[in-house]
Amino acid sequence: MENFEPVIVAFCCHYCAYTAADMAGSQRLPYPSNVKIIRVPCSGKVDALHITKAFEKGADGVYVAGCLDGDCHFKNGNDKAAKLVTYVQNYLEEIGLEPERLEMVRISAGMGDRFALIATEITEKIRKLGPSPIKTVAA
């Protein structure tokens, strides 16, 4: 448990969070390698099944990163994503997983520092929560 390195899947919107991750790289800002980024055309494109499958395949935490309020390239995909995340958090609770393992965050394309900060904070949060009970069972 002491050496536990969480696996975190981040669904990042192409127009904001993914670009912010690039920005973090260009600025040489370090963030934990635990975070595995999946680029999506809009955070609103993320489906509940993508999230549950990530947990099924062994993720300890998942977050969906969309644009800031009112900044969605497709009008309101980020707000839809936020609703979906709440819906899936309830589903995770029903399944018996801590809903805190899933989070919605909002980042603009220029916020490389915020991307790195969020990646670090979420990694630490999941580290404290411990390994996903699914992985423990599967292993």
Partner: protein, 222 residues
Amino acid sequence: MITAERKPLEEIIEYIKPFKRILLLGCNECVTVCAAGGRKEVGLLASGLQLALLKSGSSIEIREHTLERQCDPEYVEELVPMIGSEEAILSMACGCGVQQLATRFKDKPVFPALNTKFMGGSLSQGVWDERCKGCGDCLLGLTGGICPIAKCAKQLMNGPCGGSTDGKCEISDDVECAWQLIWNRLKALGQEDRFLDIMPAKDWRSGGGGGPRKIIREDLAE
């Protein structure tokens, strides 16, 4: 359409716990439209069940499939080649589909994953309301297109009752008084006179009071 909602995961798990291989079966009709039992919901339930079972240390093989319609024998017949090795069927159709499966596959346990709710329509995305009780003797032509059987809590044939205040029903401020709606509508149509006609007590034999109902179209039936 027929609306439905998924049962609590705990109840579904109780049904399928004794089995190692199940078929999780969706339906492409009403339950797809009301986002309860279509292909997408089949995937999400299968994933949720896997997670919940893995967490409790057990596992199950779930085969996912969605039929065009579960309430028609022609479509259910498609399952015959694939059903052999499945120990049970978990259906995400309405009660009609579940019963169709139970009738066709007599040696397979069939379980419902949904609670069938009501016949309704969509108010806006993600919101459905009840519109029809299937009473078998439609009154909508007399009531301005608003059903007092489905929308009045007391199913009054002549309303409103004393519980109607400012257009709301006494059971909740969220429920509109059906008879107020009927009055408004008749007025808009210039048919206020119709409101004075006393409607006789309803004969519920056509609404299920005479036992299970059946329709036989002699020209179509074989």
